[in-house]
Symmetry: C3
């Protein structure tokens, strides 16, 4: 069951990206900010940054998650992924309310990211040494 | 042959990203908007939003496509991917002309996205239940 | 050993994204640009563009790298990936100093990108013909 965690985390990460994109669309409508503008009201601008930061975070996290899984650490990487995901959700919800509140979630997600980074690194180095 | 569709869709999605990046570079040159600026002319700003929206869409779509393929639904996911891709091309071309015209392509691509989301979800849930 | 290159390149690409994100955070602190703002000082704006361009480049490159690896060209794709990576690092460092200096790195990374694109394309076309 732990071996399915990377897939589950990936799916939930995509749903999180979808949620942050939805928040931008809602803020666009609420404050009458017409595309292609990406500024005009602080609430919209925070929603937009949350979406972009979530996107950046996913593009860094998902490749490491699957590298770790590829090297047989899928279960541990999946658990680290749940921590990362919790941090990203916390970050998004807090940042949507106030920019200064985004730190806690950021730190938690960074812990998850560093964990999968170390797993991926271990896997790559071991495979290089074995080759 | 259907099993090769996810790979083909992935390749075409990257070419679409390349095309939208090229459109930004062209608009930058045409309107004399020097990097790192990302505003200055409505045509440029629309091209820039098209590139970013395409990027966001790919980061959400590609992981789901490959999750679905991983769970044995590669053929169906590939077909949904062609629908998604058609929607994204339509969206990009329409949005480049006028922001208000982007809806049709968006809706079509959303259908493809929801289809692969449901496939990936089915695959993950089944695998979790079997574990 | 060459077969491990796509994994190594992926890991290094994520570290590069991390480095460019770190440069944005540093510039944010140095010039007192509070989130969610993404403008306010030319140095910050260049750092921000470097981060976003690196992100875009990775989202295009990594899928092609792994498609090529999937079709048995992992070693060659990994070598092309090292060229691409060198180009991206050069691009990032040069652009951080001055926008006009970003061209050399861009061209080098484009060579690496086109190489993996051709490998991925060859793989997909061959697999489609064989099916």
């Amino acid at each position: 069951m732990l071996q399915q965690l990377p897939a589950l985390v990936t799916l939930l990460a995509v749903l999180l990206m979808g949620g942050t994109a939805y928040a931008v669309g809602s803020a666009r409508a609420r404050y009458g900010i017409k595309a292609p503008a990406t500024s005009g009201h602080p609430d919209f601008e925070r929603a937009f940054r949350v979406q972009m930061n979530t996107l950046e975070a996913c593009v860094m996290f998902l490749p490491l998650l699957w590298l770790a899984a590829h090297y047989g650490l899928g279960g541990w990487a999946g658990l680290a992924g749940l921590v990362w995901l919790l941090g990203r959700v916390w970050y998004a919800l807090a940042y949507l309310k106030e920019a200064s509140k985004r730190e806690g979630g950021f730190v938690l997600s960074a812990l998850g990211l560093v964990a999968v980074l170390l797993m991926a690194l271990t896997g790559v180095v071991r495979a290089l040494l074995a080759a």
